[in-house]
Structures are given as C-alpha cells and as structure tokens.
C-alpha cells in the first residue's frame, strides 16, 4: 500500500470526518469553559441563541460570514495550487488603501452603484498586487511563500499605520482613520431580506457585499472545477512534477493563483469599510484573514463548504459577543481559542480519527472501503 490512507465513501470523507473533527474541537473548547468555571452547555445555548435567536442576530451573523467567505475563498484558491497563503490578513488590510482612494475620490460625485464597482476593482487590484511579489519570489527565486507572506503582513501593517496617522488622516483629527465617507460610498443594507421572513431588525450592518461574496463563491467553483486554468492549478497543487511534465508553466500558475487569492482577500475589505464603518481605520481587518485559514480548512477547500464554515464562524463571532455579555468571565477571545482548535483538529490532525473510522467501516461493510477489490487483485 503506497498511500497511507485507503478510500472512504464520499459522505464519510466530506461529512462524517469533518463533523467528528469539529466536535472534538468544540469538546476541548468546552473544557476551557469548564476551567474558567462556567457551564459549557449553557454557554453553547447562549451562543446559538445570540446568533440565530433574533433577526438582528442573524443579520450580524451573516455580516461576519460575508467577511469570512472572502478570506476563506482566498486561502482555498491558493491551497488548491499547493500554496499556503498566510498573507490574507495583509492583502485585505492594504486593499483598504485601494478602497480609500476610490471612495474618497468619488463618494461626493457618484451614487453608490457607481462607486461600488470602482471600489471592487480597486480593492481586488491592490490585494492582488500585494500577493504578486511573494508569488514572484516563490516562482522565480524559490523563497518560501509562507515566510514571505508573513513578512508582507507586517510590512502592510506598517504602511497602513504610517498612512492612517499621516497622509490619509483629515487635518485636525486625532483618530487614526480616514474621514467618513459620504452617502455615495455607503452600501445599501440587506436587512429587508431577513425582515421578509417576519423577523425584526434593529440596525445591523448586513449589506450587498454578502451577495458579492456568494457570487465570488460560485465563480471560484467555476474557476477551480470547470476551467482549464483551475485544472492546471489543481494539477500543480497535487504534483508540481506532473504539472511541469505536462508543460504547465510553473511561474504563470503560481502567480495567477496567488493574485486571484490576493484579489479575493482584498475584496473582503469592502464589507467592513463600505458596509459598516464608512471609513478606513487602523486594524479594521482584525484577524479575519487568519479566520479564513480555519474556514478554508473546515470547508475542505470547496466553496459550498466554505460558505457553510463562514456562517458557522459568523455565528461564533456574533454569539460570542452575546456570550461575553452574559458570562463576563468568557470574553470574545474564546472564539480565538475555538478558531485555533478548529485549525488544529480539522487541519493539522485531520487524519487522526481516519484509521479508526476506516476500521469501523471495514468491519461493517468491507466493500465500502474497497477492501474486496484489493484482495481480489492480490495487491
């Protein structure tokens, strides 16, 4: 047997194993809640009620999910090409600069439906360009993409701080942020969709970017599984050697994958900047890029999985805020732990339970794991 793991039926591979991994992550998180001296079951109930109990909660959950769909897709596109883009955070942060330029120039002239496309292009372009340099260095000079993208996160943060306390700050203002946008750069809310179902909503920032995120999820699916380029990316991700042998240009494929990834990361900035705060402020990404890693891993790099995982993390963020309110001992940082545990169990320890599940399947129905076929051929 050359591969360490035998095949499982698809529903077990894509449903059962992620579910088990996720449950283990939440059980460990439950122990942390116990350690703090609170009841984990009550905490879970408050969390779910806070996220889905009221219309406002649902709207907030979907608002956070929008952000995570973008960053999750960004990490996934690079991952299909075998690249670990840990720089989503920095690409989204620097994309705030592109949005700032687009919005500050046009918000008093254009209505939102003209500013929005301009801002989309600007954010995607800046995000993609920020990913270009690490991609080029990886393709041409063999510098490890993980290290360079980490470095670029810090460089992006330094540049943004420099700009926001200096050139981009309005004269006479103390806060390190741009001036507030005019109505021409404020995106319309989508709360009426939830209100259609009869729920009441007090101000929630859910906006049209959510629809853009869903469109992007569809386009990513199209790109990865229905185009030649996506096929080449997946080939390179599986085996760079095979890709080279098939005549796929390494440089071209790495750079396109990373720039797509960077563009998706950049678009994430639209949601908080134009949909909620209406300005570009210091640290507005606040870790959403890293959440993308957890989301992509949990969604098993498939857009449908990513949208579901993003909604789950949106629920954690929104419910976590409610939880911090009800249980003062548990602040929102609890989510950071859960996020870490999800990355650990759904990512690094992905295969921990697989042998046991395989053994279980084999004992019930040997055919489901392809045992008979192997015996028959004597392999």
């Amino acid at each position: 047997m050359s591969t360490p793991y035998a095949k499982l039926p698809a529903w077990a591979d894509y449903g059962l194993i992620p579910l088990i991994n996720l449950s283990v992550a939440f059980i460990v998180a439950g122990f942390v809640v116990l350690l703090v001296g609170e009841n984990p079951f009550r905490a879970a109930i408050i969390l779910v009620e806070g996220a889905f109990g009221k219309g406002t909660g649902i709207a907030f959950t979907l608002f956070y999910a929008t952000t995570f769909i973008f960053t999750g897709l960004s990490v996934a596109v690079a991952a299909h090409c075998g690249l670990f883009n840990i720089g989503t955070e920095g690409q989204a942060y620097i994309a705030g600069l592109g949005i700032a330029i687009a919005c500050l120039s046009f918000d008093s002239v254009f209505p939102w439906w003209l500013t929005f496309p301009l801002a989309i292009v600007a954010s995607a372009l800046v995000g993609a360009l920020w990913a270009l340099i690490p991609a080029y260095l990886q393709a041409k000079r063999g510098s490890h993409i993980v290290i360079t993208t980490i470095m670029f996160n810090f460089i992006a943060a330094s540049i943004m701080v420099f700009l926001l306390v200096g050139p981009l700050k309005p004269v006479g203002s103390q806060a390190p942020q741009t001036r507030n946008f005019f109505a021409g750069a404020e995106l319309p809310k989508l709360n009426w969709i939830i209100e259609l179902f009869g729920a009441k909503i007090r101000s929630a920032p859910l906006n049209v970017t959510f629809l853009l995120a869903l469109v992007m999820a569809f386009l990513v699916w199209l790109l990865i599984w229905r185009t030649k380029l996506g096929y080449e990316m997946r080939t390179y991700g599986h085996s760079p050697k095979a890709a080279r042998y098939a005549g796929i240009s390494e440089t071209r494929i790495i750079i396109t994958a990373m720039m797509t990834s960077g563009a998706l990361a950049g678009m994430m900035a639209l949601n908080p900047v134009m949909g909620d705060q209406h300005n570009v402020a210091i640290d507005f990404v606040s870790g959403a890029g890293f959440v993308g890693i957890a989301v992509a891993l949990m969604g098993r790099l498939h857009p449908v999985g990513i949208v579901l995982a993003a909604i789950l993390f949106g629920m954690l963020y929104q419910g976590g805020a409610e939880l911090a309110f009800e249980m003062p001992a548990i602040s929102r940082d609890m989510i950071v732990i859960i996020q870490g545990l999800v990355i650990l169990f759904a990512g690094a320890l992905e295969h921990m339970f697989r042998p046991y599940i395989q053994a279980l399947f084999a004992s019930f129905s040997p055919r489901s794991v392809g045992m008979e076929a192997v015996k028959g051929k004597g392999a």
Binding site: F84, M151, F154, G166, V336, I343, G347
Partner: protein
C-alpha cells in the same frame, strides 16, 4: 561624551530587546534543523510568558515561574509534535493553530484567574529576576570609556540575559560537536538515512521540539518576568515572527543567529530612541519604517539578493517510513 553615553544606552537597550528574539530564534533553530517548521514560536513564547508570570505571582518564586513557563511551553511544543510528527499533519497549519490557542487561552484564563483584564498581578521583588550587579561596576562607572561599557553593557542584566548569550556557544557545541547534534542535523536533511541507521526519526524530532519548548519558555519568562513586571495580553507582539525572520537571516546557524537578533534588536532600540527626532543627512525617519525594516530585510534576503538562504532539505515534510 553625550554622544558616547547615548550610544552606550542604545546598545544596552539593544541587548535587552534582542534577548527574547535570540532565545526564540535558537528555539526555532533546533526544530527547523530537525526538519520541523515552527510558525508557533510566537504562541509558545506567549504561553511561556503567561505561565511564568502567573506561577511566579501565585507561588512567590521567580524560579518556580521559570519552571512553569518551560513546562507549559514544552507541552505546547509536544502538541505540535503530536500533530506534525505522529500524525504527519501540515506543520504550518499546526503552528498557526498553536498561535491562536495561545493567544486566546492566555487572555481567557488570565481574566478568569486574576480579574485584571487579562493581566497577571504586578510581580513583587523576589518574584521576578533581578539585575545582577557585577563586582566593581559602581566603582568603575566614572572611568571614561571602559567604565560605562562595563557598568551598563556588561553588568546589570538579569540572569536570563547571560543564559541567552551562553546558549549561543552551547547550541553551536550541541549541534556541531555532539552525536545528538549530528543526528539532529541529519534528520533535517535526510531522515531516511537516519532511519536506515536504526535511529528513530520520530523520537529525535520530538527531542528537538523539547529543546524548542524549553527555549521559548525561557524567552516568554524573560518577557513577563524581566522586561515587564507581569503578563500583559499579546505581549509577544510578533516577536516570534521576527525570530523566525532572524533564523532565516542567520541561515540556520547559531552564531549568525546571535548577530541577526542583535541587528533586529538594534533596529528596535534605534526606532524607540529616534522617535520624532530627525537624523543628520536623511532627516526624519518614520517609526513605521524602522519597524518594517527587519521584515523587508528578510524578504530581500529570501529573494536571494544578499547571499542565498537554503533551509534544511527535509523541512516541512512529514516522514513516512514505507517510502
């Protein structure tokens, strides 16, 4: 004389600021030389800092604090080992996970146990490592040139500072003059050869990670028990990543690591000192530029423009025996 004093003071803070980088960098050296990428240096330092300050203030002993810092940090290193050695998981994913768990749990537990907004109680004398004044330091202070150098630069640091700098020759000796070191380097270059020689690849890599855990624990303890009189949330503030950058900058060699960390420490010290004041010729340098410089330098190095940084060959690849 003023200029001279300013230089000595800047160099003194350079030493203080490079110590956590140096310890973390050497920690990374052990694991990366053994073929295990470790993005989780940051997280292990953070839990070390928290465990050290928490234990020191509860048990009123600096050494118990240091011990606890090392213990918890090693425990996190073992989680990394369990995921990336035993279960052959992605080492980078595992490191990222450790950083998140560390960042979240230190705040949550700190708040639950001490109720000071994620801080630990301020450490009292005896609960932190005090500066060691070398014999004659005060008497020498007035001697020109040598006096300030002896009194400021050499004397007057805590024991962890001296340990950190002694770790440099020690690490060199372990890696290049002992059997363990030879095997550790071999397992990072060609684990199959080590396996063929009848030595357990997994156990060797676990031992390398134990070394990593010990050193990140000391680095964390230095942050919370020497540099700062207690734990503050997110107090590592990216130092683990700078240490990683320094490790690449040093091309995975212990003595180079010391110079790389001193350079990055100096940039930090200079940034603090120059805040707002203009330089001759260049004029005013933005603080953010100085802060970004270590990262920019590392990227330039990685691009191969200042020599070539070649990582250990088997780095990041889980070892599968059957192949």
């Amino acid at each position: 004389m003023d200029v001279f004093n300013a230089i000595v003071q800047t160099l003194d803070s350079t030493i203080r600021l490079s110590v956590p980088l140096l310890l973390a960098c050497l920690a990374g050296l052990y694991s990366e030389r053994a073929g295990i990428f470790d993005i989780g240096l940051e997280g292990k330092m953070l839990v070390g800092a928290f465990a050290g300050a928490a234990a020191a203030s509860v048990f009123h002993s600096a050494f118990l604090g240091l011990g606890m810092a090392i213990l918890i940090s090693v425990a996190f290193a073992m989680v990394h080992g369990f995921a990336s050695i035993t279960h052959r998981g992605n080492q980078i994913v595992s490191g990222v996970a450790i950083n998140f768990v560390a960042a979240g749990s230190t705040i949550i537990l700190g708040q639950a146990w001490f109720q000071q907004g994620g801080r630990t109680p301020a450490l009292q004398p005896g609960e932190r490592f005090e500066a060691i004044i070398w014999p004659g330091a005060e008497a020498m202070r007035d001697v020109p040139i040598i006096g300030p150098i002896y009194a400021e630069l050499i004397s007057g640091h805590s024991i962890l500072v001296y340990i950190a700098f002694l770790m440099v020759p020690f690490t060199w000796w372990v890696l290049f003059r002992t059997r363990f070191g030879l095997r550790l380097r071999a397992v990072g270059e060609n684990p199959a050869a080590v396996d063929t020689a009848g030595i357990s690849v997994a156990w060797l890599r676990y031992r390398a990670l134990i070394c990593t855990g010990i050193l990140t624990g000391v680095a964390g303890a230095y942050l919370s028990m020497v540099q700062n009189g207690g734990f503050v949330k997110d107090m590592t503030a990216g130092k683990g990543y700078i240490a990683l950058a320094a490790l690449i900058f040093a091309k995975w060699k212990p003595v180079n690591a010391m110079f790389a960390c001193l350079l990055f420490g100096f940039l930090d010290a200079a940034a603090i000192r120059l805040q707002g004041s203009p330089l001759p010729i260049i004029g005013k340098v933005p603080v953010q530029f100085m802060q970004a410089l270590p990262y920019v330098l590392t990227v330039i190095l990685l691009a191969g423009f200042i020599g070539k940084a070649i990582p250990p060959r088997a780095g990041g690849v889980p070892y599968v025996k059957e192949r």
